[in-house]
Symmetry: C2
Subunit: 418 residues, 2 copies
Amino acid sequence: MRLVIQANIIHAPSYGDLQIVENAYLCLEKGRIVGIFDTIPEAFEQAERNDFGNALLMPSFGDMHFHAPQYPMLGMGMDLPLIEWLNTYTFKTEARFSDVAYARDVYKRLTQELIAWGTTRVCAFSTIHRESTLLLMEEFESAGLSGFVGKVNMDRNGLAPLQESCEESVSETLLWLEQSKDFKRIRPIITPRFTPSCSDELMAALGKIAKEQDLYVQSHLSENLAEIAWVKDLHPDCVQYWESYDKYGLFGDHSLMAHCVHSDARERKAMRDRGVYVVHCPDSNTNLMSGAAPVKRMIAEGQKVLLGSDIAGGAILSMMGVVAEAIRVSKFRRILSEWQEDFLTVAEAYYLASSAAAEYFGEKPGLVAGQELHALVIDDTKELDTQRLSVRERFERAFYRAQKSDIVAVYGAGKRLR
Amino acid sequence: MRLVIQANIIHAPSYGDLQIVENAYLCLEKGRIVGIFDTIPEAFEQAERNDFGNALLMPSFGDMHFHAPQYPMLGMGMDLPLIEWLNTYTFKTEARFSDVAYARDVYKRLTQELIAWGTTRVCAFSTIHRESTLLLMEEFESAGLSGFVGKVNMDRNGLAPLQESCEESVSETLLWLEQSKDFKRIRPIITPRFTPSCSDELMAALGKIAKEQDLYVQSHLSENLAEIAWVKDLHPDCVQYWESYDKYGLFGDHSLMAHCVHSDARERKAMRDRGVYVVHCPDSNTNLMSGAAPVKRMIAEGQKVLLGSDIAGGAILSMMGVVAEAIRVSKFRRILSEWQEDFLTVAEAYYLASSAAAEYFGEKPGLVAGQELHALVIDDTKELDTQRLSVRERFERAFYRAQKSDIVAVYGAGKRLR
């Protein structure tokens, strides 16, 4: 039950700070971290070994907002306007998840690729379909992933095969929650698609369920200006978008709100006051031309920020790629703000993708004794190294350069997943 | 001497237009295209075969602006301000190319990776070093690449080991041109680094050489605002940056000007009038926060535009990645212009990366009979395909999703390079 992993170790115990231990030994007992050592402690001399030589080991990623059923449309339709994109791809793709065999096939492949890229924590939207949602949870859990999955709720403004009545939505949600009781590492999360998709009656019912069963909530907020105007029309009583969730108890501690591109100071204050997390989805915001979220400003204000691939608005499943796009978007934000806002460094964006996700799930950031190991190992030793690069430089390069085949090992919740 | 290549074929004979022939036979004679056929013509029945089944074949890429010696620093230092980045990485990295053995090692690896990503045409800056420049040309030519390489000229405002006197710069350039006479597919191009790096005397001498030896010119133009102000200080007689090249005969037919992020209507008109090509380097412009070039507007005005990786300001060597970033940057441009400017579609950005580069070198865009084949083959058949995707959808997805290992064959100037 003891394991020694040898590699160059990098982790981010606080925002913007990288801790690096070269040629180190990471010791585990029953999947939990004992410590990082320069030499192997006596108690571990006979332990199983995973030696990675000169490779890089770092805590793995949390993809904190994505639409699992959109995996088959990844990287397509990026030239289309939003509504055409939804009609040509999104709704048709999601509608197929009434077919359980189809769902199993897609979710199995998605799970494999998430792990291949070093994503070990997830917060996923499924579709409205209860059975497929349970399948997604099964696939994630049996593969060793941790996190949340939500059956989507949607009783208005959708296409016919993707819409439930309010009664159906509530009863299916309750049945799904009942059937989710035995999952250990993949837990349910209440998931109103977004305000325009859910009647007031449904929102009220979901708020009640979340409260009674002590569940977190995930949804979308202030992604683009047309959506904000639409919500204003639907909820003339609400001064701002967030209040359409708040009034039903769907905007509280650990609520995950994707995007928040156009959240102003008042909306940002409401999020901080209530313990809401922003999930920044840089590639999606670019592809759909939603804008560039003021992430650095939010963090400076004390806002908790996480990262999400948001496939398939985002076209990049790899969180290493999402980190690189988060940096690029923050540089655009710097241009847009006329140099008033700063950009994300690699260390900062990596923190959001790894340590911040661990914190969301109640753990400490970085490789901390007592916690189960979540990590990936990148072998970049085939790369050109004429300059005797530092581990930090190689770490940085990996976010811009790593191919899937460079990720040679992944550990999730203390178990080796590949 | 006859070859039949079977695949799904996509090419871009005009801007924005994709021609697709499914399960086609591309017939070559001595490396030159005979035609694309639904069934194998009788004359080719006994020919050699390269069968790629359901894979995608498309014309390969031209990387029309990059710094070959910066390959070892790819993906590093992206958090640093420009001057610190230059001092920490760029100048130190380039200075090492006085060492010929070092240059050989780096340029061999760079050449391999360019080909692995399907780049078969190049316009590269080397360093000031004549011998290393000749080595780069040898590596490119012997590997089967086509295009231009320029020995960099720089007699002011550089660090000591990277600066020549004006006399040295001229005499070394003349000797390099003499020694380049026997190259067939990689030809020399006159390369003043940029106006701040070259004295008036050197610029005048380079303009004279370009004219006498009938050579094209490559340089940088209007990349960022500080640089533009600097050029204004150095050339108070010039109303705009481009005139500092123009007055020395370095701004004419087929001149390649990288970036042009901040070129206004007057500068853009000067480029069109003189037959100057813009090389758009989207990833570099983002990483260094130079801005978002108005590419769609330039094209609408009749400007010739090419794409470049600009490694290592750019962190992406793959032109498929550069195409995706060009699309993303054009979407930011759309946001910056308050929806006045449109974004690049995949078909448009692909045209710039492939057909436009072929045109620059005097060829016709697309797969045209009589021309030598430049193409790559992408095998995406391991990707999830639950939706019976069209060839066009798979083509589009490849720009967002393809890994290096998915590129299974590359042809340059009629020869199979891998």
